[in-house]
């Protein structure tokens, strides 16, 4: 797929979100990400990083504002349309969200099964992506037989297997040691180098320092580009 064709991958206009009527989680958030962008979304715990990501793949509805994915306004999408737009977004969830009664292979294959991809092609692509994240030898294991880092890799493999145009990762290195963190960031870098738009939510400042990338910071529900001075130490 040509990423050049869709220069503006994610556009967000004046987004407001609140769960409780009196507490605003996001206030007037606007930004644009182009195809091939890589951005860290940072801010203290509870700042609304997860909420913003969930809005981007329509797991939440905004109070007001617009979200354009690949030129399409998903805020007015039907359930069915949302299902289809999610197939072009790979999401790595903070809590992995693997299906425990399915094997590693079947967890990753699920994404291709729902689009009716032929079995042979699924086998090839799942194998390739599992190899890419370095977990191909655990193919027939179940998620609960794996370590946290291994489960994280499976989650990443599932996000990547469909060649999505966008990757959204929520604290993908949350509880992993630095070596694995580096490996995982390298995977995202490689995917990004092929033109995929990547957004990684993290509160880990070391990550921002090691991988010099564009940064969005959420503070008091508002988003600003770059890292505020007091957090940059």
């Amino acid at each position: 797929m040509s990423s050049k064709k869709w220069p503006r991958m994610i556009r967000v206009f004046h987004l407001y979100k609140s769960y409780l009527p009196t507490v605003a989680v996001l206030q007037d958030v606007s930004f644009t990400l182009e195809a091939g962008d890589f951005v860290f979304l940072t801010g203290p715990s509870g700042a609304g990083k997860t909420t913003l990501l969930r809005l981007l793949f329509a797991a939440e509805r905004p109070k007001s504002g617009q979200i354009l994915i690949n030129g399409k306004n998903i805020t007015s999408f039907s359930r069915r349309q949302i299902a289809h737009v999610r197939r072009s977004i790979g999401v790595v969830f903070q809590d992995f969200k693997l299906i425990n009664y399915r094997t590693v292979f079947d967890n990753v294959a699920l994404v291709l099964e729902i689009t009716g991809t032929p079995r042979n092609e699924i086998k090839k692509r799942v194998w390739k992506v599992l190899k890419m994240v370095g977990i191909e030898q655990k193919l027939y294991r179940y998620p609960l037989e794996l370590s946290g880092g291994e489960q994280q890799r499976v989650a990443i493999a599932r996000a990547l297997v469909n060649d999505p145009q966008i990757i959204l990762a929520d604290e993908p290195t949350g509880n992993l040691d630095f070596e694995i963190t580096t490996e995982i960031m390298n995977i995202f870098n490689n995917v990004n180098a092929q033109g995929t738009t990547v957004m990684v939510a993290t509160h880990n400042q070391l990550l921002l320092q090691k991988f010099k990338r564009k940064v969005f910071t959420l503070h008091n529900g508002m988003l600003q580009e770059g890292v505020p001075a007091q957090e940059n130490q």
């Binding site: 793949f57 797991a59 359930r79 069915r80 299902a83 289809h84 737009v85 999610r86 197939r87 999401v91 969830f93 969200k97 693997l98 299906i99 009664y101 399915r102 699920l110 994404v111 099964e113 729902i114 689009t115 009716g116 991809t117 032929p118 079995r119 599932r158």
Partner: protein, 299 residues
């Protein structure tokens, strides 16, 4: 729809069923149980109806004649009866023949009749009614018309018996439908609850599938197929059970009542009825799915 897509749906259904074997067995036995009861009811109804219809075949209407009836009146009455479409055969029994029969039926006690000065028995016409006389109304109309003819003293055609017979059939039918309806209601309720259970134990997986872009259709179809599967298996089981019961009933009748040999001809379901049985089982499974899904969507 792509074949592979359908294959994944089938596989997902299979996994669901395997994962929830006990729940599925409960559903299947519930459906099978109510189908067996329904089958026994239909079977009993079918045979009772057949038996009663057999009885009706040799059902007679007896027209007692006045002693004063003239030859021409008798002839025209006989002609009238014969021309009725409901009548198969007309037999004339004279006073003398009636007496002979009566004497024969008394056997040893026929000596009692010796003291009689004159024959008190009336002559009669015995009408054999046709099998196709389906309802009470036709029989009563015929009786009314014959009663108006000159020379007719009295009619005897077991009105009471007939009336009971017809209302019994009606009652059986209504009661059977009522019980069946209630049974099916309970079945759908139980099946929908087992599907809900299997759905809820899959809640997390279903959420995940939605998050990675599965449509509601893709998620729902395996549960529909699960309902169809339950209905299909249950109906085959219940056909087998009803057939086994039928088989044992027949051989029990033959053994316990040897004199019935050759007379026992219980009717079993026609292939069409068996097909209907399977369709009914599947329908129950699908209804269970629809009820549970409506409920799940609402919540």
């Amino acid at each position: 729809m792509k074949m592979t897509y359908f294959y994944y749906l089938l596989r997902s259904t299979y996994q669901n069923i395997r994962q929830h074997l006990v729940i599925n067995l409960i559903s299947i036995f519930t459906i099978a149980f109510s189908l067996v009861l329904f089958g026994l009811y239909s079977f009993g109804y079918l045979n009772l109806k057949k038996t009663l219809e057999d009885w009706r075949t040799d059902f007679q209407m007896i027209v007692y004649l006045e002693d004063s009836i003239s030859k021409s009146q008798l002839n025209s009455l006989r002609h009238f009866c014969e021309s009725s479409p409901a009548v198969a055969r007309v037999v004339h029994v004279s006073k003398k023949q009636a007496m002979q029969r009566f004497r024969k039926s008394l056997g040893k006690d026929s000596s009692l009749l010796r003291g009689l000065k004159e024959n008190p028995l009336p002559a009669s016409l015995e009408l054999q009614l046709k099998n196709k006389v389906k309802d009470m109304q036709a029989v009563e109309n015929l009786a009314k018309q014959i009663g108006k003819q000159p020379g007719v003293e009295e009619l005897q055609y077991g009105q009471q018996w007939l009336r009971h017979f017809f209302s019994l059939m009606k009652l059986l039918h209504i009661a059977g439908l009522g019980v069946t309806g209630f049974l099916f209601f309970v079945t759908v309720f139980i099946v929908s609850n087992t599907i809900k259970l299997s759905f809820y134990s899959r809640r997390d997986a279903i959420d995940i599938m939605e998050l990675v872009g599965a449509t509601r259709f893709y998620i729902a179809v395996p549960y529909l197929l699960e309902g169809i599967f339950q209905g299909l298996v249950a109906s085959l089981l219940s056909v087998g059970a009803v057939y086994a019961l039928y088989y044992y009933l027949v051989s029990w009748l033959r053994q316990s009542f040897p004199f019935l040999q050759g007379m026992v001809s219980l009717a079993f379901f026609t292939p069409g009825m068996l097909g209907g049985f399977v369709a009914l089982g599947v329908l129950l499974g699908v209804l269970g799915f629809l009820v549970s899904f409506k409920w799940i969507r609402g919540s």
